[in-house]
């Protein structure tokens, strides 16, 4: 591995470590938070409501977002912390949002499922599976019309490829040769269902190709592989060759939401997946180059600990804020 590549791996590792630390802290802060899978709300958690963790999937967010400029756009899913952080959002504001505080990226209006940071081009997580796809396509269409040179990274899960907007969005992107990178973050599950059992044919890449969209599949736990594939695809997109799809195979290490014990899964499967944890893989490679990640991990933890402390100390939005940011036309007429 040459120096450049080692540097790149180090940078990518740092992003992954920050995401991992963020997810761990969010999970910790969410215990007892949501009524599902037999759990009920205790009301004491700092992070309330459904919390979808991307633990174990960090390589996809890190590898792809490292190819993006700040002015590029990104759309995400319900599982969007990693994408948001990797796109450059401030973790203090992010944690503030998960805690529902006025200091959050969305001033407490969205929470985990709707985390967004428009200031870094992150146009929002989305609570509706596949709903981000047409929005990404529209943003790419806008970039093309405006000749801005921006591109869009559009993340979605493996389950999303069975929803209509996947077809409609990809078809549109190809018809208008739009600058968008579709990223299927394939963690092999859709809530409690093994996605494979509900998916006909060879999956995301084959579907994209049937629409004339070139697609590449990678090991989504190998951050360098993800990054190199993304670099190539993004270069093609920036060169004006139209949309591309990246299919990154990874694994959802946690339950669907933080309270899901995921008892429907074979423990052996989970164990095998943990063995190819993306941080561990990258750390092993870095160790072979004589680089120890302990300091990076510690730094990441310190950053996130500070974010949690700040979130805990921050105020909730005032009740009046429930009536702002809706619409100017008719503002005040709430009945």
């Amino acid at each position: 591995m040459n120096n450049d590549k080692a540097d790149r791996l180090l940078t990518l590792y740092r992003t992954m470590a920050r995401i991992r630390a963020f997810e761990n802290a969010a999970e910790e802060a969410s215990r007892g938070c949501v009524a599902a899978f037999g759990s009920s709300v205790t009301g004491t958690a700092s992070v309330r409501g459904p919390l979808h963790l991307s633990t174990g999937q960090e390589a996809v967010a890190a590898g792809v977002c490292a190819c993006l400029d700040k002015s590029d756009y990104l759309t995400s899913t319900h599982r969007g912390h990693g994408h948001t952080l990797a796109k450059g959002a401030d973790t203090t504001a992010m944690m503030g949002e998960l805690f529902g505080r006025a200091t959050g990226t969305n001033h407490g209006k969205g929470g985990s499922m709707h985390i967004a940071d428009f200031s870094v081009g992150m146009l929002g997580a989305n609570g509706v599976v596949a709903a981000g796809i047409p929005i990404a396509v529209g943003a790419a269409h806008s970039a093309k019309i405006r000749g801005s040179g921006q591109i869009v990274a559009c993340f979605f899960g493996d389950g999303a490829i069975n929803r209509g907007p996947f077809l409609e969005g990809l078809n549109w992107a190809k018809v208008y040769e739009l600058p968008v990178l579709f990223v299927c973050e394939d963690n092999r599950y859709s809530a409690t269902t093994a996605t494979q059992t509900m998916t006909a044919g060879a999956g995301a890449a084959a579907r994209a190709e049937s629409l004339g969209i070139p697609a590449v599949s990678v090991d989504g736990n190998d951050v360098l592989a993800v990054h190199e594939a993304a670099v190539q695809l993004v270069a093609e997109i920036r060169a004006g060759f139209g949309p591309r799809l990246l299919h990154a195979v990874t694994y959802r290490v946690k339950g669907h939401v933080s309270v899901d014990p995921a008892a429907y899964r074979d423990p052996g499967e989970v164990e095998a997946a943990l063995a190819s944890d993306p941080l561990r893989l990258a750390a092993t490679r870095l160790a072979a180059l004589g680089i120890d990640v302990a300091a990076i991990d510690a730094e990441a933890k310190a950053e996130i600990d500070a974010a949690v402390a700040a979130a805990l100390a921050a105020p909730y939005p005032p009740p009046e804020a429930a009536f702002t940011d809706i619409q100017d036309t008719g503002a005040g007429q709430w009945q």
Binding site: A35, G38, G111, M113, H114, N126, G159, A322, I326, Q335
Partner: protein
């Protein structure tokens, strides 16, 4: 009589219907593993994957396929998980399921029950908290049901499965864990409201989880010397005009409260009807026309608490 949760009551009613009639099937995401709220627990084990059908994340196809099944001899129960996701299947509900029988001149019928859980679910923000009952009440061809208790979830789901028309069946997400006595032999008639608390000063109409808030407000009002009659509508279409108008005519004042946004909510229909028919004082208390925010302070603003209902009651009759 057994004590069951609201989720178990529905599960139990569905299991009984499936045992009695092989045409009854269920389809939806994650139902093979019992549904994420346990509202299908054990059903795939008992009835097999052919009758408790796991679906891809394809709401439009789930609802559309259910229409095709219903037209060809099945009685599908369609799971949408939360009503907000049913917005991905609205053409299938409104243009297909609701209109099929009419548009094709009565050649077919669409006996399906679509479960669209409504309501604010703690800290779930704008896309998982909506109550759309007014939308479906506006659509010819649809029956709209919203049970408030475990017992009603059993009896009304049983009635919905038997009625032969497309039913929008709206459970409330905060009620899944609510427990209560359930007489599994009890029957219910769609379109019949229930007076859940008698009173003589004001008629207070509600449905779904808000019935419990209404009862709370009625109790607070009693302390102030106001006798409030609380009606649980149970079925929103057809709604029980006779019970509501009868009660309102007796008390001379009416209030409707619901969790949904007040503007163009179903409370408007009831209030307007009472005003038209009886010309008595009438009021509504629904949610403000704002999305549901995530932070507890914001979410609170989207709720319709007993205190607001009490205020309105006291405006109708000073107390």
């Amino acid at each position: 009589m057994a004590v069951m949760s609201y989720a178990q009551a529905a599960c139990n009613a569905l299991a009984s219907a499936m045992r009695a009639d092989p045409a009854v099937v269920a389809l939806g995401e994650d139902i093979g593993r019992g549904g994420i709220f346990g509202q299908y627990a054990g059903l795939q084990q008992e009835f097999g994957p052919e009758r408790v059908i796991d679906a891809p994340i394809s709401e439009a196809a789930i609802m559309g396929a259910a229409v095709g099944m219903a037209l060809t001899g099945m009685k599908p129960v369609v799971e949408m998980r939360v009503a907000d996701f049913a917005l991905c299947a609205i053409d299938e509900i409104v243009n297909q399921a609701a209109k099929n029988r009419y548009m094709f001149g009565g050649q077919g019928r669409v006996p399906l029950v679509a479960r669209l859980p409504i309501g604010i679910w703690a800290a779930s923000a704008a896309q998982h908290s909506q109550s759309f009952e007014a939308w479906f009440a506006h659509i010819p061809g649809l029956v709209v049901v919203a049970p408030a208790t475990p017992a009603d979830n059993h009896a009304l789901l049983t009635a919905a499965l038997a009625c032969g028309d497309p039913v929008i069946y709206m459970e409330h997400k905060m009620l899944w864990g609510m427990t209560g006595e359930v007489d599994t032999t009890a029957t219910a008639k769609l379109g019949k409201a229930e007076i859940v608390r008698p009173g003589h000063d004001v008629t207070l109409v509600s449905w779904s989880k808000q019935v419990h808030v209404a009862l709370e407000a009625a109790q607070l009002a009693e302390a102030k010397g106001l006798s409030v009659e609380v009606i649980d509508l149970r079925t929103l279409w057809p709604w029980d005009r006779a019970t509501v108008l009868g009660s309102a005519a007796r008390t001379g004042r009416a209030l409707v409260t619901h969790e949904a946004v007040q503007a163009a909510g179903f409370g408007a229909e009831i209030a307007a009807t009472i005003a038209e028919e009886l010309g008595i004082p009438v009021k509504r208390v629904g949610a403000p026309r704002i999305p549901v925010g995530y932070a507890p302070t914001l979410e609170a603003a989207a709720h319709v608490p007993a205190a607001r209902i009490l205020d309105a009651l006291c405006k109708l009759k000073p107390c």
